[in-house]
Symmetry: C2
Subunit: 137 residues, 2 copies
DNA sequence: CAAACAATGAAAAAACTTCTCATTATTATT
DNA sequence: AATAATAATGAGAAGTTTTTTCATTGTTTG
């Protein structure tokens, strides 16, 4: 996978940015909140302020390095932009998050946006339900 | 449209609840935040506390009287549950919100949830883009 | 290596939401 | 219509999440 070049994105190469990036790369399957990342940094003995974490995440989002999600939790979570887009399905009981993609849905979304005169920039689709493990409890 | 019977829903019929309901009914095409509703009440000369507005909205959500949405704004917005489900398309420039429904997408969502072993409870789909009016600017 | 300027940490502040608690209102029952 | 039981309310405090401010530090370009 191609390394992310901060300089090319107009961002100075600083320790906080590299550290946040490292945390995200180490947790590619997770959806981390700003607080999660901040705690992970503290545990690694890094001295990065929470405000900086928020700033860096916002910059990374604008640079399309990562995606921000608003699950029904009250705070944002982030994941590295891994090239192929995907959507999410979440368990309302245990909080598990799975991913999926569906060509049919993608195509319909584009068609709908076109019909309604919108130039689509992005979308968010979250399915909420009870996962198989929680159904058995 | 059938009037909403708070009593049948296990909610006592109180002035704040009726007033919030009236605001929502008067703005069926809008997506109002708790603050919006609170301000609308103040402007109507009603003496309702913000905490009550939040409480009532949460109760209405649980009673399925309304839907809560988490657009990419950082706060919840609400709209009366008008029977038929619909999704949303939002303009990232002017903030306009339009609605749509698509049988194909609905069906695929159910199929995907089933495939993944989920018992689906609800979903949220938001398309973001630039509306036709803003494209011309 | 120095100057220009952007990034940082810490703390304060802002924005949104929930909680606490004393008071008031609603309801079912007289 | 009055009462008792109980739920709802308003005000403010407090909790969360996020942004801003500002003095200091770090990065980059030439």
């Amino acid at each position: 996978m191609g390394k992310i070049d901060l300089k090319k994105l107009g961002l100075k190469v600083t320790l906080p940015r590299l550290k946040v990036l490292a945390i995200l790369e180490r947790n590619q399957r997770e959806h981390l909140s700003a607080e999660d990342i901040y705690k992970a940094l503290l545990e690694s003995g890094e001295d990065v302020g929470l405000a900086t974490v928020y700033r860096v995440l916002t910059q990374f989002e604008q640079a399309d390095i990562l995606n921000r999600h608003h699950f029904a939790e009250g705070h944002s979570v982030f994941e590295l932009n891994q090239g192929e887009h995907h959507d999410h399905i979440l368990c309302v009981k245990c909080g598990e998050v799975d991913e999926f993609t569906d060509e049919v849905i993608e195509a319909r979304q584009d068609a709908i946006a076109k019909e309604m005169g919108f130039e689509i920039t992005h979308h968010s689709l979250y399915l909420y339900g009870i996962c198989s493990a929680c159904q058995k409890k």
